[in-house]
Subunit: 227 residues, 2 copies
């Protein structure tokens, strides 16, 4: 399928690389492609600059947010939470209309010290903010409860014996995303939590995910819903 | 050991019954013992009145909040979140000072419709409110991520292959609670999340717990942290 990836960070690279390896046509979008390619230093997390990744994934076309969104039958927002709405606005409402829009972002607020808090939670969510901002997009919140490596290879944690969640108002969009999660990425336990307001529930897993990283000393963590 | 149970609802009954069956000396506290015993109709959830349970657990003494707290070497707050601080104030700061105070409550707010939201979250927690209100108590937040039946018998869900969490500023109090969880109740995976501020993380599991109950059709759910 044609995939538009919005965001060139670690999550966008990881997902784009996996989807490309599966034979999908991936365009990865950034605000300013020339600037993204010109960066030569590692990012804040010590990850190599985008062009290093891009040289190893030459089939993935780098373009603007809007070009990537226009290209995608599925559009994936792989963005820092605080930048998500702005980047999607730059992608263009008309380019998202009718599309399955996979929202992976968490509303982390690093401005008040560590551990980060959430800039929206409890009575609202980033998933709902995105759906309200783009009412014609078919927003599905998913994959926001594991790190990038685990998103595309759940087997990295205990052979994949853990759960992933979906929230959306659109049953057809959920069916598309369920297939992506299971057939493309290898998730075995995909739990449909309900409409997009249930994105509150998975975004509110961030605090325990961060505490567990601290307590267990690894971000390679999965939540298994045992029943 | 001498246990003071603060609260005569389903959680208090379940924990008190289990602790009594293990040979501990349990006093269960309520605001007005005569009124609690006089009730003859089921509660809002359809549970039988307290006296039915009490007739089956005659060794457990019913008393006031203050008498129960004074009795306990370990005091357990098994309370509706919105009533927790008031009940503990009635139990008396002097009766909680120096005690291990196990806080099981979740800050659920049912006043804004279903599903309930949290009346404190993200930048604070009920666990922290309790610790600040009773600075001499050794507050340990735990067991608030499963329903009452599972608290004392984790094996009811998938043979017990799931996790329980602890948050506290007091390492000795955590050691006491770890023993209660493992040796008395049979938990195998007890995760120490850190100080009492990490209670935010487990209280913020309530939204997904409630959504999962809806999605899966059962409250017999456990969270297993896979790593």
């Amino acid at each position: 399928m044609k995939i538009g990836m919005i965001g060139t960070g670690m999550v966008g690279q990881t997902l784009a690389g996996k989807l490309d390896s599966l034979g999908h046509e991936v365009v990865i979008g950034t605000r300013d492609p020339a600037a993204t390619l010109a960066r030569t230093s590692p990012d804040m997390m010590g990850n190599p600059p985008f062009k290093v990744w891009h040289e190893a994934h030459t089939r993935v076309k780098l373009a603007t947010f809007a070009e990537a969104a226009r290209h995608g039958e599925i559009v994936i927002g792989a963005l820092t939470g605080s930048a998500a709405l702005d980047a999607l606005r730059a992608a263009g409402e008309e380019n998202l209309a009718g599309k399955v829009l996979v929202d992976i972002s968490n509303p982390l607020d690093f401005s008040k010290g560590m551990p980060p808090t959430l800039f929206v939670s409890n009575t609202d969510s980033l998933g709902e903010l995105v759906q309200r901002a783009f009412p014609k997009a078919r927003v599905v919140k998913t994959l926001n409860t594991v790190n990038a490596a685990v998103m595309i290879e759940p087997g990295l944690v205990d052979g994949g014996d853990h759960s992933v969640f979906m929230s959306s108002n659109d049953p057809e969009a959920k069916a598309v995303v369920r297939r992506m999660l299971t057939e493309w990425f290898g998730w075995r336990d995909v739990i449909d939590l309900g409409d997009i307001s249930s994105a509150r529930a998975t975004e509110m897993l961030m605090p325990i995910w961060l505490r567990l990283w601290g307590a267990l000393g690894t971000p390679m963590i999965g939540f298994k819903v045992v029943r």
